[in-house]
Symmetry: C2
Subunit: 353 residues, 2 copies
């Protein structure tokens, strides 16, 4: 049996469970030659190298992920690939017709196919029929799981770090991935918990939180980071911003359901206002911090801020250093830029209970 309905996933567990993908992956970049358009494939390669078995591209691409290049049958047989991941976006967000033979070949080799594009895989009859015949799944990571519940607010075991921000698209996912990796590097049991499509493809699971019906946002966040061992850390990718006129609802529901013990505030110091809302000025970081703490205390009174993550890509080295010093002084916590500087001080602060 196959369908895009997430509830039929043999790995999804109970209703409302976050998606879990079958690993390892065959990464497909189509005929895309412009690397930024294949950032999902490179992101998975960089952040989940052990999950990547092979790559496949079409003539004209030339992109190299440093993995064995082979057809789906070979990837399955010789490299154990279980899932083909569409790791590149074609112009317009649709799946080009000439990419389909590769997807069909993967299906016929017994692989699931995963995508996060505007075209739903299951809306392509040829793919749907082939997947049904082969008994594999077509999975659209933009579709939330069915059977989500309303949040209970019950405190869960284990520890949680949540990356929150002052706007969209400034580093919350990258910061969370960096901190999860830094925790693991110290031998600490940690999981990155993805809440957006790119993060889900990198992590191999998660919930696209902004696609969840509003009543269930906090409940979805609860399902995403379930009870865990007392010393386990979930590092939960943030979405939107609490002071964003468009998306604050998503941010707040995710924050409440995550019940974070620790917050890292992500900011781009060149932004004076929400990019898409010119009238929404971004207040100083200490005011941002106060608002996040105030909101988060509803479900975890002991929440604290343990660091600032600054995206200093728009600043000179000198200006970046100044900005980081100022942010650190303002909030009294360590500051880092995950693209440039180590996370050690933030991890130290996190672990110093």
């Amino acid at each position: 049996m196959t369908t895009a309905a997430r509830s039929t996933s043999p790995t999804a567990g109970s209703p409302g469970a976050p998606l879990a993908l079958r690993k390892p992956y065959l990464l497909f970049v189509g005929d895309i030659s412009y690397k930024p358009h294949a950032k999902t494939a490179f992101g998975i390669r960089d952040w989940a190298p052990d999950d990547c078995a092979a790559q496949i591209s079409l003539p004209g691409s030339g992109l190299d992920l440093g993995l064995p290049e082979c057809d789906p049958a070979t990837a399955a047989r010789e490299h154990g690939a279980k899932t083909l991941v569409l790791g590149a976006a074609a112009p317009g967000g649709r799946i080009p017709d000439h990419w389909r033979p590769t997807l069909l070949a993967a299906i016929q080799a017994g692989m699931d196919v995963v995508a996060g594009m505007h075209t739903r895989l299951s809306d392509i009859p040829e793919l749907a029929a082939a997947a049904q015949a082969a008994g594999v799944q077509l999975i659209d990571v933009r579709v939330p799981p069915v059977g989500l519940s309303v949040a209970t607010g019950r405190k869960r075991s284990g520890k949680r770090l949540h990356t929150v921000g002052t706007d969209c698209a400034l580093g919350k996912k990258y910061t969370a991935l960096t901190l999860a990796a830094a925790l693991k590097a110290r031998g600490i049991d940690a999981d990155f918990r993805a809440t957006g499509q790119t993060g889900i493809l990198i992590a191999g699971g998660g919930i696209p939180i902004d696609s969840v019906v509003a009543d269930f946002v906090a409940g979805a966040a609860e399902a995403l980071s379930p009870d865990a061992d007392p010393d386990h850390w979930d590092v939960i990718e943030g979405q939107g911003a609490l002071l964003h006129p468009s998306y604050a609802a998503v941010t707040l529901g995710l924050l409440h359901g995550s019940q974070p013990d620790a917050l890292v505030i992500c900011h781009d110091p060149t932004r004076t206002h929400i990019v898409t809302c010119p009238n929404a000025a971004i207040p100083p970081l200490d005011e941002i911090a106060r608002r996040y703490l105030e909101a988060a205390r509803l479900t975890n009174p002991d929440v604290r801020i343990v660091g600032v993550s600054l995206n200093t890509s728009g600043l000179s080295d000198t200006a970046a250093e100044t900005a980081m010093s100022e942010a650190s002084a303002l909030l009294g916590v360590p500051c880092f830029d995950p693209m440039k500087t180590p996370a050690d001080a933030v991890i130290d602060r996190l672990l110093a209970a």
Copy 2:
């Protein structure tokens, strides 16, 4: 053409437009004899009497709404009924089989059929086929409109009052209906804007805000109360509570998109904590007020609190008077109980810019 898809409604206007129902109504209570189970029918009768053309019940009910009792064909022909409204809930939230002949008769008389139950009307093949043949609509008010947009945060013209609360189910809808009626009674142009299924059935339109995908909650609220004349008041029904661990996301998105000029805080003084979350204490009203104002200022810096609505149904008369005096003193605004005392002082405060 007919379908439950809201986008096909001839009255719905552009994509993302709130639902608008065809009036007047034939109110159907099935064979329900217990009045509280028919509260939707009585609510519509009480709050929108001019929209009610007739009633129909089945043997065993005996409920009387004070309207002409007649079959659908007569209701359409003699009383101009355009829509049959399921105004009662059967045990389990489903539509009993023996209610269907009445629904079919309404369809055959050219009426739309509207419901807000767990069973979707369009999932009953017999009804779907009949509606298609008759060219009428089956409308489930729990289904949000298609084509909703992300909120822009752009300030709209006209004025807005929003009822917000300390918990669910304590009087936000009733307060909003009362205040909208009080404004109209003073000759002021005002509309009640419904955000939940019962309110939508009473108002004849609206958006079921808790069923909207999280990314679009604030955008749905923007669509619900569009640009209006400078002196027009939209009175927007609140949902959930800002300090509710399960539903705060809904509340915040609705608050931001509503851009209220004025808030009325609704509270039940017998509640010490969120009913469904024993660990979530309800803080004092002045703290609640501070939090709502802080959140609302993001999209309307001039927002103010103009009143408190207390549900004193659980108190003695003496205790109710004391509670109302205390609430009024604490917030420095008038307090009323919409079931017991006049709204005049709150309206006076609202209109005293």
